[in-house]
Symmetry: D2
Subunit: 340 residues, 4 copies
């Protein structure tokens, strides 16, 4: 069986495990106050081309989202999200349980645009309605699409003009930054958003997301907020060491690029056989449409998930590649399609 | 100036004030544990044709909504509402601040139907998504439409089959129950929903909503919940006396019927002049569409609110009648339209 | 039966009811945006000797407390209270449900002092503990004691030096300001605290507390916060008219003073018979200690509540006087004690 | 420098890392639905001597506490804790932010007893106060003390008689179960409490706590609750594999026992030199009292934390041993004390 199920099926890239092994018996400070976390932050700041940001390592994506959103909003303030956004659909109401409404906006491709935001702002006019105060985007989106520099600039401008906090969920930021169509750098992002994170869990780490706070007024007492959400890990250095491994050289980008290359290969294989996509592929998540008859056979050899029924005979599925996807799995998929 | 702005512009119906005056210097128990609250509950139970319900008087509608919804849901559970529902649009995120997602469903007329509910249930399948557990409807709806007995039976059946709590917001229940198209009684409602309230604020009381808990498992410790939400009034008897006045005879229904008659008269006046409605009128809220030029003149003589821009030249407005609307105001509106 | 049960047993002072009657059929703006609320605010600002405060009328005390505390604290921040404080003991966890810890401090007389605050601050040193950010005091306290000007100045100084928000619960502020030992004016209080309220419910109104926001940074978007807590009343003018009645002349103070005079008379009666007090009496709540045998008899003629068992034979009770307490009740108590 | 700072300074026991390495490239199911988690659960159930429990692996202790407490309490319900309890002091208000009051009880040794609970229950009598519904204990406690079987039986009986949920925080359960005075087994605990956890983070794992739900009514929808708190890890198998390593044989107990032996050795060294303890030592946390002059020297060779000032000249410190504490560190401490 070859799996295209997701990008979090395996443990960690061996170089990350090696570093965890290497430093295993060192005595580190607790709760993220350790040398490895400091080194990892230094490496990330180098990538960002600036030193004036605060970085915190958080264990998981949903935890990072709810922490970040609840940290900066007052009870009556809401966050704007694409209706397909992870916080709106796949976090079991975690943001609402933290006390805030998610204002969801229908989009075709999972990407929020300034006109979406303006429409929400125009609609929310007085104290009988929530006050939109934050914009949540993810890069890549839930549909695998990516923001261009121009698009991000436009959202950034719109957010700043309207005094909204712009938050980018980067659970799959590696894939976004290394895909063929990308023209954004980490440095660009840090200049355009107010807070974002660099996802480790879905790009080769055992766990961990690096949350980057850019605006000064968002930095105050953030460790209190982390602890208050139950997100301050006793062995914070376990996260620090992993990001040290990912950013001491180009490993973070190499892993993501591998996933993208595997996805491009799959895309070509599928397109060559004239199958269509539910949404145009950009990154490591593909949503091809196949006849149900073929999917029945596919299940015997591949693990994948169903995205959406298209019609009686056809279904869009989701194929995900990762740093650990092997070329032989892609080859097997090619061989499979050639047989049908 | 004649006002059709809303149904909460005036104080209380004189007979309510009379009773407040009459009992003013009596010494009553605190926090709703008083004779007048007991009498009012008895009267309401008489209307419901049953004694096995718990009734609590709450000061205001939003407070009642957030109290009720947060009382019965676990953190991961959500409430289904029409997208135009009061809890979804006009409560500044109060339900979300209490920890729960509002799953909103687009509707044309503000009324939720079983197929809406089923679609939501089908979509929410696993622990990565909120669990829909309550259905919120209001009667009348935000658009002034009303549920028929058949419609309410269908929602009730669907809710029970799917183990959902059915909650009816009755802030304008008086208007619903006394409008021409209504075929529901309070007794019917009590038999079909799990919890609902009988709105006083918008039907002649200074303030107050009578919350009726029907399902036994919803009754436990409810006074704790009221207090915990800050909703237990020291002088609960002020609410009790008002509902005593409203339900000792038919006052509650008479007041609502008056509002509806005034609304019917307005409807006829508007229809006779061939103006259309944004949504068909049923109760004490009307949404007629007028040319902007006429609205400019209307503003000089009438107070009303803008509902929605229809096109460059026309706008839907909202006209609301109440127990206190005078025939002379309706006459003035007739006379106004005849002039234009 | 004569009742010394509490100060919220009766309706409203007749002059308040008169004003509600007088303006009953006026058409008022909704949600507190009405002329009577404006007039009442003007009157209160006159008492405060300043115009640069924001005033909001809230329906009830616990609602005001939880609204105010949750409005200004971030999730990791806590409020310091005397352990006998209303928010700590008698609000069914409303403040905690809004997300904040109440740090309680043992006191003898219900009054918080700077050394209590400093001790809390010294103990809470890092991000593993909540951050104390607000000081909650009430005047009168739960034990009927009152703050002197010197005491309030000291707490104010301590709060400002430590960047803490000072909040005074004034549910019984009338009684505090008109008791014999008082040397504080409303103007003094406004100069020393950051936010406080003037209680109406326990001083002659049907319901209502006037919340006064003094520090500019606390004023922003407060109506959003009120609505978000379910505390924005449709008929806000019902609160406004009552405070108009209370503050158009000296009615607010007259009512409280009457309660205090009745309490003083009771105090003298009790002291003259050589009974002791659990805590020295200052305002309209008395905590005398009586032999249980006498209490058995007392119950036949008077309504009161038990405060605390002192020993096998003696119990401290609570006697409360109000604007509505009649001299004949006090006389009856004198006559009762003379009989035993 | 030798560190007795805490038991979470190092990575993981090498046998845990070995297993993570061994299974690193396997493809596992996401979110804890994987074979290793299943195996680990099987092993733990074997220790518990029963199969009818639900086990969930959670990333961290505070997260587990807030998840568990907020899962089972309604908004008006509170948890009883020793005043020194972790949830009361060292979680930055996480439980309160989840909506619940912590009722703290003064204890001498960090251990809650039935009379503490009964006193709380007697005090909380009506709907104006929170309703105590859960009992939180930790074993070992924050002071390193441990519950005997008799003590736990008494609390269990008291909790059951009063319909309270009994929750044991087992962040340091390994140390409790392997200390000399212990007479409890995992099987005993499972029979006496309603929910507890077996801490991995402080006993040799990189991270992870095994939460055991015993009462059937607590099990429902628990994965929804985990996700809703942001605590469902994408790579749940990283936790599963670690508990597989800890419980496939006696590793969990061996690691804890080592820590206890090191602590016993330190205790003997300290006692032999006639130093006293702030609290009698039982497990891997020691609170010896030393003259400040000696502590000044101690700092040059050892890392430890200050617990509490005893008087002008003496201070109680905290020494913690762990699975990773080396005998040479203990020897160094002996040698140090012999020099002074």
């Amino acid at each position: 069986m070859h799996s295209f199920m997701n990008d979090y099926s395996e443990g960690a890239h061996p170089r990350i495990l090696d570093l965890l092994n290497k430093y295993n018996l060192e005595k580190n400070g607790g709760y993220g106050l350790d040398d490895h976390s400091d080194i990892a932050k230094k490496y990330i700041k180098r990538e960002l081309g600036r030193d004036d940001v605060d970085i915190h390592f958080i264990a998981a994506g949903t935890l990072t989202n709810v922490l970040t959103i609840s940290a900066f909003l007052k009870p009556y303030q809401a966050v704007i999200s694409a209706d397909s956004g992870h916080i709106n659909v796949h976090e079991t109401g975690a943001v609402e349980t933290s006390g805030h409404k998610v204002i969801s906006v229908p989009t075709i491709d999972g990407k929020l645009r300034p006109d979406h935001i303006i429409k929400v702002l125009n609609y929310h006019q007085d104290e009988h309605m929530v006050q939109p105060k934050m914009v949540y985007i993810s890069n890549t989106t839930e549909l695998g699409t990516v923001y261009t520099k121009e698009e991000l600039k436009a959202i950034s401008k719109c957010s700043r003009e309207n005094n909204l906090i712009l938050f980018m969920d980067g659970a799959r930021l590696g894939s976004a930054l290394t895909c063929k169509s990308n023209d954004l750098s980490l440095e660009d992002i840090a200049g355009l958003v107010d807070v974002f994170y660099i996802g480790g869990t879905k790009n080769g780490a055992l766990l961990g997301e690096a949350l980057v706070l850019i605006r000064d007024d968002l930095k105050e007492d953030f460790r209190y907020l982390i602890k208050n959400r139950g997100a301050l890990m006793a062995k914070g250095f376990v996260l620090g060491i992993q990001f040290e491994a990912l950013f001491q050289d180009s490993l973070y980008f190499d892993l993501a690029e591998h996933a993208n290359i595997m996805a491009c290969d799959l895309t070509k294989i599928i397109s060559d056989k004239d199958y269509k996509f539910f949404i145009k592929p950009y990154s490591n998540q593909l949503f091809p449409i196949f006849p149900n008859a073929i999917l029945e056979k596919m299940k015997d050899e591949f693990v994948f998930s169903i995205h959406e029924k298209i019609d009686e005979d056809n279904t869009a599925i989701r194929l995900v590649t990762s740093w650990a996807t092997k070329e032989e799995s892609v080859d097997a998929f090619r061989s499979f399609l050639e047989r049908y």
